[in-house]
Symmetry: C2
Subunit: 227 residues, 2 copies
């Protein structure tokens, strides 16, 4: 790999993807950050992505819009469903159908245009919490698809889908990010953050994040809504 190799990094604006971007840059890639506006309940996440992309040195940051809200089926995109505040079992209602497949597909299209053969996504075992498309088997299957779906693959180059956080705990992710200078106060993980990007402190995502800072022994810089 030369120091100018390009990587497309999926950037939601949350803790995991910010860490992923920092790791990708530290490996010497030129990182191109891609955020997807898929009809989220709030835009604080996308605003966080813009701040994070600039702070962590993305060469370029694009936001692509796709109207996933039209298909419904998830508490994250369907306003008629409530975000649960108790721990869930099985596949939770916050699961967005085919979300990671779709986001990786958009990243794949941009990678082809950029002549990049590397896509980096911040899925991990903790975030899995029942989502089928956060598992190693999913990443592997997408890599095989990317190989046959693209011009680069047809021409014999290897398309890589990297998920550097996949086997890390939330605490390890936070420690890795802190070592790389990530300012987590910029990031938004909450499923129902307010307009200022402050977390609810009660949803699955907020709980995982709080527990991660505790386990890492690092003060939590997250801004929360007043109780």
């Amino acid at each position: 790999m030369t120091s100018t190799a390009r990587a497309v990094v999926l950037l939601s604006g949350g803790l995991d993807s910010a860490t992923t971007l920092a790791m990708t840059r530290s490996k010497g890639y030129a990182p191109y950050a891609l955020s997807i506006d898929y009809g989220q309940r709030h835009h604080a996440e996308l605003q966080a992505a813009t701040r994070v992309a600039a702070a962590l040195g993305a060469v370029e940051h694009r936001v692509m819009r796709v109207d996933l809200a039209g298909i419904g089926g998830s508490a994250l995109t369907d306003r008629t469903l409530n975000v649960p505040t108790v721990a869930s079992t099985g596949i939770p209602i916050t699961y967005v159908p085919a979300r990671n497949t779709l986001m990786l597909s958009l990243a794949l299209g941009w990678a082809e245009v950029l002549e990049s053969t590397c896509i980096v996504v911040g899925v991990n075992a903790v975030d899995y919490s029942g989502y089928p498309d956060c598992r190693p088997a999913f990443i592997d299957a997408f890599a095989r698809l990317a190989q046959v779906a693209t011009k680069a693959g047809v021409e014999g180059r290897t398309m890589r889908i990297e998920a550097p956080l996949i086997a890390m705990s939330k605490a390890q992710i936070i420690q890795a990010g802190i070592a790389l200078g990530v300012d987590y106060s910029m990031t938004v993980s909450c499923y129902q953050a307010d307009e200022q990007g402050r977390g609810c402190g009660a949803c699955d995502s907020c709980r995982l994040r709080q527990d991660g800072f505790k386990a890492a022994g690092i003060a939590d810089p997250t801004r929360y809504q007043a109780a």
Copy 2:
């Protein structure tokens, strides 16, 4: 399969996808038609899709918008590139990066919401003409991905990606569609159709279509722009 099994059918408004919809319905599926507005040069194709969905008995027809034009790289979405009118070799400039991956991903999301385990797409060997994502290997790889990416797959049901036209010639596709009552004058295949949906008669897609009707021995009902 029961007579009420649902299938999501990708419907562009062209000859192939109209035939695919007719075949899916004739097999006893309840077809849900999905069209993707990915920033095409013209909307005649989407208008054709709406007519075709109604004429061929789709239970529902949805149009999802995704701003693929933002990533550029194809003559079909980038207005600074010209659509070629001479036969091309290799991967042509009309190739839209990751288009079929993206369209199948959107279909997969809707299939999950509909609790459907069948997605039907009208790719075929003739349309391949150098597009990596029109090959059997691509369809197979997407099926493997769908199996690990979805709630249905995790729960042990089989996700099927059907490409019934994949080994058919254009003439065979036309003959199959005529036998099922498809009115091809409703469909638009041209890469640069005018506002009325009339073909240019010169692009790759128009040429494949004209040759197909000739080879099938069926009068071509396509409306063309004045020379």
